[in-house]
């Protein structure tokens, strides 16, 4: 006897955000990336259409990053050259986006000037054709100067700029409005602050389809379940037509997963935990694949081996020929 399936009919969908701009659109990207747009829970093809598959933004930093050797070795000699590094991410590893993190701006580190940062952004823009995500060094005051310079240098490129936070969103939102970019709105695992921040940014005049939510995830083993549930609630909220939760979500997977001991400690140090080559890659991979099930649209990733695994996982899940 045929079973009557339970198909949800959602009144709304996740909002679409377009990243990047081609030459016809006033930029220099060879292609754009569209995220969001789904009117279903993740990958349930019987319920609707997976309009835009989730994408991977590979992390590039403006100075040589303090990452573990297993990851650094996969990039060879490009880590001191953001443009060449970004090229490698796109050409060799198939990155959909580049997530350029300007940690060199940190006043307690290299303290690079906003002009230097903007120059790095231009170099990366010249080196690759994919759209760019650009974030600062997480020093609020400095980031406001840096991102203003970046927004101007990248005018027309329809960048995704971050991070706007509850106590520091005005100058980055203003910069994005003037130069027509998108903004990452970051809230600390709290759905009410998340909504509130989207409202504040929107009230300044930035349209909702120019905002991407960063729910500030925890990595595998370190609070991923909080992010998982906040994201499921946000996705359900978006589908139920809550416009202030309807933005696509970006998850800083590579950063969070790789700061854990489990992704870095050798088997000699922790014999009970098994081979680091397997464990480290899977730590980042499962942080990504679990959050895909909760509704992630953009995954910031770091380890090329994990990127490969997640690309295949996504391909398996967006295959609409089956499961209909």
């Amino acid at each position: 006897m045929p079973v009557t399936l339970v198909k949800e009919r959602f009144p709304s969908k996740v909002g679409e955000v377009i990243l990047g701009a081609t030459s016809e659109q006033g930029g220099t990207r060879t292609s754009t990336v569209v995220v969001g747009g789904d009117n279903l829970l993740p990958f349930l093809h019987f319920e609707g259409k997976v309009v835009n598959r989730p994408v991977i933004a590979m992390e590039v930093t403006d100075i040589v990053p303090p990452w573990n050797e297993a990851i650094k070795a996969q990039f060879g000699d490009v880590l001191d050259n953001p443009a060449a590094w970004a090229q490698k991410c796109v050409n060799e590893f198939g990155a959909d986006l580049i997530y350029l993190k300007l940690i060199g701006a940190d006043p307690e580190g290299f303290n690079r000037s906003p002009e230097d940062c903007a120059r790095v952004v231009k170099e990366v823009l010249a080196a690759v054709g994919v759209p760019l995500v650009v974030v600062g060094c997480e020093n609020a005051e400095k980031d406001n100067e840096v991102l203003a310079a970046v927004a101007e240098a990248g005018a027309g490129e329809n960048l995704l700029l971050g991070l706007a936070e509850q106590d520091n969103y005005k100058s980055i939102t203003a910069a994005a409005m003037v130069h027509k970019h998108n903004v990452i709105a970051r809230s600390p695992l709290d759905i009410n602050i998340c909504k509130q921040l989207n409202i504040l940014i929107n009230e300044m005049g930035l349209p909702l389809n120019r905002i991407v939510i960063d729910p500030m995830i925890g990595g595998l083993g370190f609070g991923i379940e909080y992010a998982y549930s906040i994201m499921e609630r946000a996705r359900l909220g978006a589908l139920a037509n809550d416009k202030m939760l309807s933005m696509p979500m970006i998850c800083t997977v590579g950063y969070e997963a790789n700061r854990s001991k489990e992704a870095n400690a050798s088997a000699e140090e922790f014999p009970g935990w098994g081979d680091l080559a397997q464990r480290g890659v899977l730590w980042e991979t499962l942080t990504a694949t679990a959050l895909l099930q909760a509704g992630a649209s953009i995954l910031l990733m770091r380890n090329p081996e994990a990127v490969k695994l997640v690309q295949r996982n996504i391909a398996d899940l967006v295959d609409a020929e089956v499961g209909a």
């Binding site: 019987f46 009970g272 935990w273 899977l282 991979t285 694949t289 099930q293 295949r312 996982n313």
Partner: protein, 443 residues
């Protein structure tokens, strides 16, 4: 469809004896209405009432127990934020009966060793699935016996050949293995065997419609200890089937699908297989059968399982005793934080990253973060002073400086007075600890 608590209450004996484990009949009725608990725990319910309530009071997904403490099913929600997921996905690693006995023992011992300790938790692989691939019932029975003799873990005996199951199951029935597969062609004989030995059994069919037919027919044999396998072996199909089975059971109380579900992976390369299995851990598999059998593959998957099955209403806590990071010495700084695991491990991670050996003392705040604890009066100077005293840290360091979270800078004076320690106000967020620690040690 389900009855309300009051409707159920009318049918109960109203003795308020508490023998069911719930203090009053009304509370028991409410628990039944919520799909938790079983009518059988009431010793006085009348047969007439039992019949009337049986279908309404049964949990939406039957609890199936097998092996060494493995519990499948008995879930009540689709999203963990609605309440919680109760029974963590049972993870089984497969072995083939085509291995010779020596190799089989080596493999079983390797699987036995798939246990882990991290962040104060202990978790491991739950069971071993013995696959009949030899085509030889005698060999299968022998292999099952060898595996059973060398492991304490739960067992799954898997063959499409009823003769193989008949040969292997009786000798290990005391270990209460899960049997499989009962399918369209052999279900009568396999279910009869399961019933005779009182073992749970997997019903396998290709797709939900066929599975529905098979369950109805198998139930008609007078047995209900079932685990379902919808037959799909492609991730996107398995995700769809797992979701539909859970939705039909929970939202529609559709009885034929009110059983736990087992998922099988399709990928052969272990890293891909673990990524695939992570889909089924998040989305509704009660059990997963894997090929991967090395620690580096299993720790990430079992960690995800532990995370997803954490009760969202009960924050995980760490022991509120003195913890040390690195090779501590009398000059090591002393940090206080809370015993909410996320707070504690964020602090620990950053202290570790500072590369300065340190002590961390988590205060017992019932697993709340610094600000929540302070607002609730659980982060008072008196309490912190007591904790400092009781921790014995004073005997371990040659100074009396304690670092407190920046968010509670306001308690500095009082804490200094109560404890006799000099209070240093640390950063508000743990992310500020590295630069804070460096400036502290340089200054």
């Amino acid at each position: 469809m389900g009855l309300t608590g009051l409707e159920i209450y009318k049918q109960l004996p109203k003795k308020n004896c508490g023998e069911c484990g719930t203090p009053t009949c009304l509370a028991f009725a409410m628990a039944l209405a919520a799909g938790k608990g079983a009518l059988d725990s009431c010793p006085y319910v009348s047969d007439a009432a039992r019949d009337a309530l049986a279908s309404a009071s049964a949990p939406p997904i039957k609890s199936i127990k097998f092996g060494n403490g493995s519990v499948l099913g008995d879930e009540t929600v689709l999203f963990r934020h609605d309440k919680t997921f109760y029974h963590p996905t049972t993870v089984l690693v497969q072995v083939s009966d085509t291995l010779n006995d020596t190799d089989l023992v080596a493999k079983v011992e390797q699987i036995n060793d798939l246990e882990f300790d991290r962040v104060g938790l202990h978790y491991g692989v739950d069971g071993i699935a013995v696959l009949e691939e030899s085509g030889d019932p005698t060999r299968f029975a022998q292999a099952v016996k060898v595996v059973a003799d060398h492991t304490e873990k739960s067992l799954l005996l898997l063959s499409d050949n009823v003769a193989a199951l008949q040969a292997a199951a009786p000798a290990v029935a005391a270990k209460k293995p899960l049997l499989g597969n009962a399918a369209e062609g052999n279900y009568e004989a396999v279910v009869a065997l399961a019933k005779e030995l009182a073992l749970p059994v997997i019903l396998k069919a290709n797709g939900l419609d066929a599975l529905n037919d098979l369950v109805e027919k198998a139930q008609a044999l007078g047995y209900k200890e079932f685990v379902l396998d919808p037959g799909s072996r492609k991730p996107v199909e398995t995700l769809a089937n797992l979701t539909q089975l859970r939705r039909l059971a929970i939202k529609k109380k559709y009885r034929p699908f009110g059983y736990p579900v087992v998922a099988f992976t399709s990928k052969n390369e272990p890293m891909d297989e673990i990524a695939e299995a992570s889909i089924y851990v998040t989305k509704y598999a009660s059990a997963i059968v894997l090929k991967a059998d090395e620690k580096g593959f299993l720790l990430p998957l079992l960690t995800l399982r532990a995370n997803i099955y954490t009760d969202p209403q009960k924050p995980i806590q760490v022991e509120p005793t003195l913890h040390s990071v690195g090779d501590v010495n009398p000059e090591s700084p002393v940090y206080v934080t809370t015993n909410f695991s996320l707070t504690y491990y964020s602090v620990e991670g950053e202290v570790e990253a500072s590369k300065i050996p340190s002590y961390i003392l988590p205060i017992d705040t019932d697993g709340t973060s610094v600000l929540t604890a302070y607002a609730a009066g659980k982060y008072e100077p008196e309490k912190i002073a007591d904790a400092l005293l009781n921790s014995g840290v004073a005997d371990k360091v040659g100074h009396k400086n304690v670092i407190i979270p920046g968010y509670v800078a306001v308690i500095s004076g009082k804490l200094q007075e109560k404890s006799g320690w000099k209070v240093i106000v640390g950063p508000r967020e743990s992310s500020g600890i590295v630069s804070f620690a460096r400036s502290l040690s340089n200054g």
